[in-house]
């Protein structure tokens, strides 16, 4: 029966890069699982993803930035700035104060909800404006992105210090807001979502095959397509089972459920991945990064495309900032510091070329997972943070090295 292994091998080498990345992730998981059994505990699994989400959400936008040949160094303090603004709005009662005096009869629950929504909208607008500012200077005034966003890095850092005035602003009064990053979706909701994802995967397989059939293209093995969709669905369902603690009758009700932030991350990842392959914006981004002059002569509006991409990056800074404030429960003076490097590292680990033109959102998510798994696993093994950065750095260099030597071999 050499047939099935052959098909698997073919599938493996076809998307060599992505598959090696996934294997590396699995190896890291297994390795840590053996080293510290608590790595696989429901508690840890429930904790890891929300931590990673803040990085991963921005990595989805950073892929586009790097694909067009740019870079954004400002996303760390940028998201930090949004987070302290959110915290300040809640801490000083900027929104619920006036609301209460306008509608004195409002219940606490609805007051918190409206305050949360207004805060989110304001912070999203802030993020968009930050992106618009940087994008305008980069696209219209033609200042290199490295310099503009390095400037943004300092400006947003200053913004954080000005808003916080050197102290932490605690979000103690609004639990609805904290739900964004700390809330759990009830077990049934989680299962429903998982089933929906699995069904969508299955439908996608058959739609893609029908399309290939219609245009007479090679279809590949149905079993393989189903296997891939199956593995992915099983992962999602398995995750939901674990975080719902379905197996654990003793577990506290309050611990059961999929973190809301993970759902947000999932939606953003799917949306950005869709944009990258199925919209003009995505196509144009890859075209500009692949060959700017050819893209220009194909009538692509380069300035507008680049502007849109930095604005999108700004919006995702907004989302991350909102989540960060809710996750930490306060706005701190160091908010977001160093995130930009984790975000960029996620993209690069995930196969985004710093030369532009190449990279996937999926890869960046896996990259973020690798980085987060490393930090988390090393922490659980009680490796001091003195060593953690060294290991992260080596992994990043090794990954790119492996990629380069792989490309050489194929050339």
């Amino acid at each position: 029966m050499p047939r099935i292994p052959n098909i698997l091998l073919g599938a493996f080498t076809k998307n060599l890069r992505a598959n090696i990345l996934i294997m590396a992730l699995v190896a890291i998981w297994i390795g840590f699982g053996i080293a510290t059994p608590t790595f696989w505990s429901a508690d840890n699994i429930q904790n890891v993803l929300p931590q990673m989400a803040i990085i991963a959400i921005m990595a989805c936008g950073m892929v586009f930035v790097i694909v067009t040949g740019g870079i954004d160094l400002s996303v760390g303090f940028g998201s930090g700035f949004v987070s302290v603004v959110a915290a300040a709005l809640l801490y000083y009662g900027v929104i619920d104060g006036p609301l209460q005096s306008l509608f004195p009869n409002m219940q606490t629950g609805s007051l918190e909800l409206v305050t949360m929504l207004v805060t989110v909208v304001l912070c999203m607008v802030l993020g968009l404006l930050m992106g618009l500012f940087q994008g305008y200077v980069i696209a219209r005034l033609a200042v290199p992105p490295f310099i503009v966003t390095l400037g943004g890095f300092y400006i947003f850092k200053s913004g954080i210090l000005l808003v916080t005035q050197g102290k932490s602003l605690f979000i103690s009064a609004n639990d609805t807001y904290k739900f964004i990053a700390q809330g759990l979706i009830p077990p049934m909701g989680g299962f429903a979502l998982a089933v929906l994802v699995a069904a969508a995967m299955l439908v996608r397989v058959f739609l893609a095959r029908a399309r290939k059939l219609k245009y007479g293209m090679a279809q590949g093995s149905l079993a393989l397509d189903l296997l891939k969709a199956g593995i992915f669905s099983a992962l999602v369902i398995g995750y939901v089972v674990v975080v719902n603690r379905t197996f654990d009758r003793e577990a506290d009700e309050g611990l059961r459920g999929v973190p809301f932030l993970v759902v947000i991350m999932g939606v953003i990842a799917v949306l950005m991945s869709y944009i990258s392959t199925n919209t003009r914006l995505g196509r144009y981004a890859y075209a500009i990064g692949g060959n700017r002059e050819a893209a220009r002569l194909s009538g692509i509006n380069i300035k507008r495309t680049i502007l849109t991409i930095y604005v999108t990056m700004g919006a995702l800074m907004g989302v991350s900032g909102i989540a960060l404030a809710a996750y930490v429960g306060s706005g701190t003076t160091g908010a977001g510091g160093g995130y930009e490097l984790d975000v960029i590292a996620s993209c690069i680990l995930g196969g985004t070329s710093t030369l532009g033109g190449e990279g996937t959102v999926f890869g960046a998510i896996v990259g973020a997972l690798i980085i987060q798994s490393l930090s988390n696993g090393l922490q659980m093994m009680n490796v001091s943070s003195n060593w953690q950065y060294l290991i992260k750095g080596l992994v990043l260099i090794l990954a790119v090295l492996a990629d380069i030597s792989m490309k050489k071999k194929r050339a």
Binding site: R280, R283, N291, G299
Partner: protein, 512 residues
Amino acid sequence: MPEDVLLEISHVTKQFPGVTALSDVSIQVKRGEIHGLCGENGAGKSTLMKILCGVYPFGTYEGDVVYDGKVLRLGTRSIRQAIEEGIAIVYQELTLVPKMTVGENIYLGKEPRRGPSIDWDKLYSDTASLLKRFKLNVSPLDVIQNLGVGQMQMTEIAKALSESARVLILDEPTSALSAAEVDKLMEILRELKSQGVTCIYISHKLEEFFRITDTVSVLRDGKLVTTRPTSELTLEKLVGLMVGREMKERFPKGNRKPGEVFFKVEDLHATDPANPGREVLKGVSLDLRKGEILGIAGLMGSGRTELVSTLFGEYARVTKGRIELDGKEIAIRNARDAMSHRIGLVPEDRKRLGLILIQTVLKNMSLPNLNRFSGFMYIDQNAELAAVMKGSTSLAIKAPSVQVPVESLSGGNQQKVVISKWLMSEPRILILDDPTRGVDVGAKYEIYKLMNKLAESGFAIIMISSELEEVLGMSDRVAVMWEGRSNGTLEIGEASQEKIMARATGVEIAAG
């Protein structure tokens, strides 16, 4: 091995995964001769040269290269080693650093030292004597980016020769040169020959073999067809040997019936946006009829490429004059404007300007046409694929599928992808800037046939070419450019090489 053979390629076979690039090739290059090497794209010329200059070290191929009586064993430092052995190569793409001087470029990586520091005086005086030896008309202190393409090419040759090269390999040295610069190059090659340098000369311009080479070797599909003294060959024979069949005519006959004039350019002036003081067009007037091929001839630097850039709205800014389409004045400020008036441009340098090499055929072809398949947040990938497949089939693009990266295709097929991406946008005017540059003989013929077909179906084509024969062979009329001006349009019946050259050099000025 006979005494007079300097370099013997003996039964060399080179395999790549899935392809045999060279199969049992044996060629003898005699001391002091200029040995031409010709073949279609993909015939194995480049692979052979890469073996000689150490890109593929000894042991990665079968067979031997015997150099001056010894088997050449280029090891791990192979490229450097080949240079030390006296084998120098000038690549088709220039490899100079634009912001450095001629001297710095020539001695890059081997700067003369005095103690720990570079001996600049020696470097520049050595450069000067080198340039003098080959009668090159550039100064050692000139910055490369300020030189013309021809001078850059000369600098590249001087760089190759700076380490007492005994074998000089030239890979398509004339593809970017004007006729005058080609003459100059030929002169230098003769000079080198008289100084005892052996030369291997690769070119797509077959006429050049008859001007300069002593012997010609022809490769086809990785095999040596023949090695013969140039004196025994004719152009037709050579083409026949290359393609493996006799070519009756280089230019297919079309059945074009040009209609009325619908596009006019009057007294167009334009400047370089990067350098607004520099006027690149100083008064160009021409008109275009439906269903015709208008050739544009002119020397390098005469404003040919600047003219098409201006008509396409990129890299030049109109300062005076008018462009008229269907009797109405139009403004073309960028590529999008040009496309909205249904003008398409196949640019001269397809790798730099025409294609995104790492992307698939599909994505390249649909790039300027995505609007037709997409809404705000989606691309109708079914419609896109259908349109691309149709385009790919109608131009007979040879590719395993439309999902392979264009960089894996041959030059001719890459060019067809660029043409086809513009055909998909259904232009009324298609501008072809040097459409057959770096394309092999067979693919050239197909592109000519395609041009005929397009013109017959009502497209108007503006074709620029640096090969006069091509302009004469394919055009209905020829507009000649001279120093940024148009110097009259000749009907094909009255045009000849001499007449075009007289106009292109300003010896004859058009009336009006």
